[in-house]
């Protein structure tokens, strides 16, 4: 699943506040699809997380985003649809 779909799964499968152990036990095998590289499981992502408890789905989502691998984090201003001229960019002729 893509990262934004995790909220729906968190809400259905977990009761907040929850612990990192409960998240990994319940959803650890779920695959997160990386836009630019290798997918990771929720357990693999949270392996680096030191937070023990999560008060809300927001907090858990933020932690996931903090610890996902390079396949989820792109280069600044890179757009896979190619260069787009925007209204706050200067254009030279």
């Amino acid at each position: 699943m893509r990262l934004p779909e995790t909220r729906d799964v968190f809400v259905r499968e977990l009761t907040f506040p929850t612990t990192i152990d409960a998240v990994i036990e319940t959803l650890g095998d779920e695959q997160l699809k990386a836009p630019n590289g290798e997918s990771e499981t929720i357990a693999e992502v949270l392996e680096h997380c030191e937070q023990e408890t999560f008060r809300s789905a927001d907090e858990l989502y933020n932690e996931l985003l903090t610890f996902v691998g390079e396949g989820f984090i792109g280069r600044k201003y890179y757009d896979d649809r190619g260069t787009q001229t925007t209204e706050d960019e200067e254009v030279s002729f």
């Binding site: 809400v11 201003y77 787009q84």
Partner: protein, 188 residues
């Protein structure tokens, strides 16, 4: 399938209500937070890694992220009844921006708008005791933002030929969530 757009000012309790409502609905439904989708896109493009950083992006960057997030929602709505939590008026460092610029609006193509509201005093009280940090704003500023939401909701509703529903979250979140569930079961 269909999209119900759920909106309310920060602190009104929209997330809690939407999550509780989602648990009461079946597998046809999918809860998506528009900010989650924007944040995924922002991270992918190296623009932001947290919600607070989203508010500091330029208008052009914000619009691009909104567009990508809108396409994602449209894709998901092909096979799900999407409950989309979002802000109809987005507070940024440049001022309030429309939550659904034209291209995003047409991609998302909502079938129902639900405004979740409470009195400004209730919202201020919830913000004061919340875990997350909120900007220090006045009662008047909250009224203003709720007015912006109403105006935006009705303008979008006219364009989409879709109804607007009001759900009040003044006291008990369970009661409000039940009301929201009823609205969604009837309206989607």
């Amino acid at each position: 399938m269909a999209v119900a757009l759920l909106a309310g000012v920060p602190g009104v309790g929209l997330s809690s209500m939407a999550e509780q409502t989602r648990r009461d609905l079946d597998d046809d439904y999918l809860l998506i937070n528009f900010g989650d989708a924007m944040l995924e896109q922002a991270a992918t493009q190296g623009l932001a890694a947290s919600r607070s950083e989203l508010a500091s992006l330029s208008r052009v960057e914000t619009r691009r992220l909104q567009r990508r997030a809108g396409e994602y929602v449209a894709d998901k709505a092909e096979s799900n009844k999407v409950l989309l939590t979002t802000h109809l008026a987005v507070r940024t460092d440049s001022g309030f921006l429309p939550g659904l610029p034209d291209a995003v609006f047409h991609d998302v193509d909502p079938d129902l708008f639900v405004l979740v509201e409470a009195s400004p005093d209730t919202i201020l009280s919830r913000r004061a005791t919340a875990d997350r940090d909120y900007d220090d704003v006045s009662r008047h500023a909250i009224e203003f933002e709720q007015d912006l939401n109403r105006t935006a909701a009705f303008e979008y509703a006219v364009e989409a030929d879709a109804p607007v529903q009001l759900v009040e979250n003044e006291d008990d979140v369970d009661v409000a969530a039940t009301a929201l569930t009823d609205v969604l079961r009837t309206g989607l």
